[in-house]
């Protein structure tokens, strides 16, 4: 006799199996193959399956790859922070102050994505360049004597455009968290004498931090994966760990080493995210939020 639990289990299986199979077949399996390759050795254009850890040793001992992985993490974290700060007020506005045009405002945020990465990147060059819109404006108002060269082809420029690129994702994540917020809590806070700011500081912000965190993780991962923006906007130091891997896959045909760097990168990424998630869940706020569900 099938128990109720069996029925539930069957339902869960029916819902979950397609996605699991799909991800298993086209993500896990390919990455496993890459993992296998990472222990191979390259002999000209042949990958020789003489399994050893040399590639991992290269990654760990190479200052370049260590630096690049570190830089990826740093830039990911910085952009996640910037987008969070920029996105929050907008998400708050859309969630709390807009009634009729919510969908329109959110969609409007996504429309620029349609232009395509490259088109937008080159548009930014026109904005930030030495003879670009921003510099022309700054010269015109007399804020500067010389065009500010660092507006383009610098780490800062790259971070700016990355922030721009991933802002919509952060807005969406925070907006969802704000929409999930029980509105009566705001009334309760007001009732308890909290002003707007204090309601925000002590009620809204803590309760939507999980949304910020989700957004931050998304942006973090996206920034690490983006190599076009740093390459085309970041100037001579615009190299990223991904473009280094790219070079190893393509130019140097060293898939084993590329695979090893990729796996180290993913391991660092997963460890960081797991640590962050654990920390968040263990925190007083995290525990309190978990308990309410």
């Amino acid at each position: 006799m099938a128990s109720l639990e069996d029925t539930r289990r069957k339902e869960f299986a029916v819902l979950a199996t397609p996605a699991v199979l799909f991800v298993g077949a086209f993500c896990i399996a390919p990455l496993a193959l890459l993992f296998l390759y990472s222990f191979y050795r390259v002999d000209f254009v042949a990958m020789v399956p003489d399994l050893n850890l040399r590639n991992y040793a290269t990654v760990v001992t190479s200052e370049t790859y260590r630096t690049l992985i570190g830089k990826a993490m740093l830039h990911g974290a910085l952009v996640a922070g910037f987008t969070a700060v920029l996105a929050y007020p907008l998400a708050f506005f859309i969630a709390m102050r807009v009634k009729v045009y919510k969908a329109a405002l959110l969609t409007a945020l996504l429309i620029p994505l349609y232009t395509g990465d490259l088109v937008r990147i080159f548009a930014w060059r026109v904005v930030l360049g030495a003879e670009g819109i921003l510099n022309t404006f700054l010269l015109w108002i007399g804020a500067t004597e010389q065009p500010i060269m660092a507006l383009l082809f610098s780490t800062g420029a790259s971070l700016l455009v990355l922030t721009y690129n991933y802002l919509p994702f952060m807005v969406l994540a925070i907006w969802i968290a704000l929409e999930l917020l029980d509105r009566s809590l705001l009334e309760a806070a007001a009732d308890l004498g909290a002003g707007r700011f204090r309601t925000f500081r002590h009620v809204v912000l803590p309760l939507t931090l999980p949304g910020v965190l989700v957004g931050a993780l998304m942006v973090f991962a996206l920034v690490i994966g983006d190599y076009l923006t740093p390459q085309l906007i970041g100037g001579s130091s615009g190299v990223t760990v991904i473009s280094a891997i790219h070079d190893l896959f393509g130019a140097a045909f060293d898939w084993p080493l590329g695979g090893a760097i990729a796996w180290v990168l993913m391991a660092v990424l997963v460890t960081l995210i797991a640590a962050l998630a654990t920390l968040a869940l263990r925190s007083r706020l995290g525990r309190a939020l978990l308990r309410t569900r």
Partner: protein
């Protein structure tokens, strides 16, 4: 009158006979071939497959071409190496990479008897070992050129050479190099004075020398450019005044009224050549069509169109005579002797080390 009539009749008759034999001969001639392909799939660079370049081929009844576009030479190799090449009948790799493709068994040998225009290859290409293995030809040179220095003549006081790109303090922050290990390192080698015959055979010591130069150079650069469109934009927007370049920005920007200059430094200029090759898994009817297309691409119509439009030189001299001196000059075929002075790109055996070095420089 009658004679005239008879002779007319005879001529008519002969004509008819010729036509009839032609009609009967046509199927005979094509019988050995497979069913004609409905399309030939060509993976290429966008600027080589412009509709107007291919129009004569199609007008002459060539198999319709479906084009795919390459991101970069390295991406092309990675993509084919990862997933074979069964989608394509014809690919366009750099000939310096040919041995990688051949060693990876990605290509099938070409049947030169189906490419009569190959007989007109320029001598250096005919004798070059690149793209050949065990007496078979896998990659046939397609078109070639040099990568010079292009600069804004209005913003520079004298013609630059490689040293400008390494020590031109005056232009600090307005110089650019291509983001490409092979060329970047060869140029540094030319600059530090590595002998020509050792350029692609550098050991650790020479590479270390290059790295030092490249590290110093990096401080002077505005950026490493990524694509020629990218660099053209950098010149046009005044970001960069002088860069290791390809030829097109010089002509493009000159045509738009900018005072551009092109320098071919005496230390040596990198010459390159892209090839045509047929992937190993291409189907027989595709192979057939690909050979026909190759022959067209090495032929006179295409050669002229490319020389005028590109401007690039194809690998055969078949169209050369139809070009004006000026057009010949533009594609460096006026004085064929210069071809010997170019540093032709090769694939270094230790290229992995080169790429790692290049990344070290960029990441420093």
């Amino acid at each position: 009158m009658a004679d005239f009539g008879t002779s007319l009749d005879r001529r008519r008759f002969l004509k008819l006979c010729a036509a009839a034999s032609a009609v009967t001969a046509l199927p005979l001639a094509t019988r050995p071939a497979q069913a004609k392909a409905s399309a030939v799939y060509w993976l290429t660079w966008e600027n080589l497959a412009k509709a107007e370049y291919l129009a004569p081929y199609l007008a002459a009844g060539g198999v319709p071409i479906t084009k795919g576009f390459i991101g970069s030479d390295d991406e092309q190799f990675a993509k084919l190496r990862a997933g074979g090449g069964s989608e394509w009948d014809l690919i366009t790799p750099g000939i310096d990479k040919a041995e990688l493709y051949i060693a990876s068994n990605l290509l099938q040998p070409l049947d030169l008897s189906k490419i009569p225009n190959a007989a007109h290859l320029y001598a250096p290409f005919k004798t070059s070992p690149l793209g050949k293995k065990d007496g078979k030809t896998y990659n046939i040179p397609f078109y070639w050129g040099i990568n010079p220095i292009v600069y804004r003549a209005d913003l520079m006081d004298k013609e630059p050479d490689w040293s400008t790109l390494f020590e031109g303090e005056k232009y600090k922050g307005r110089l650019a190099m291509r983001d490409y290990a092979l060329e970047g390192i060869v140029i540094s080698a030319l600059y530090v004075g590595i002998p020509r015959d050792k350029l692609f055979k550098m050991g650790a010591k020479e590479l270390a020398e290059c790295k030092k130069a490249l590290l110093a150079q990096k401080k002077l650069l505005r950026t490493y450019w990524n694509s020629i469109g990218d660099l053209t934009n950098l010149f046009a927007s005044g970001e960069v005044v002088c860069a290791f370049s390809w030829v097109p920005p010089y002509y493009d920007l000159k045509a738009r009224g900018l005072n551009m200059g092109m320098a071919k430094p005496k230390q040596g200029v990198i010459g390159w050549c892209d090839s045509l090759a047929i992937p190993a898994q291409s189907k027989p009817e595709g192979v057939e069509a690909a050979h026909a297309l190759i022959n067209y691409l090495l032929g006179p119509e295409y050669g002229k169109l490319l020389a005028v439009g590109g401007p690039y030189a194809q690998s055969t001299d078949i169209a050369r005579s139809s070009l004006t001196d000026e057009q010949q000059e533009r594609i460096f075929v006026k004085d064929l002797g210069v071809m010997d002075s170019f540093v032709w790109k090769e694939n270094p055996a230790n290229y992995g080390d080169w790429v790692r070095l290049w990344n070290e420089v960029k990441a420093s």
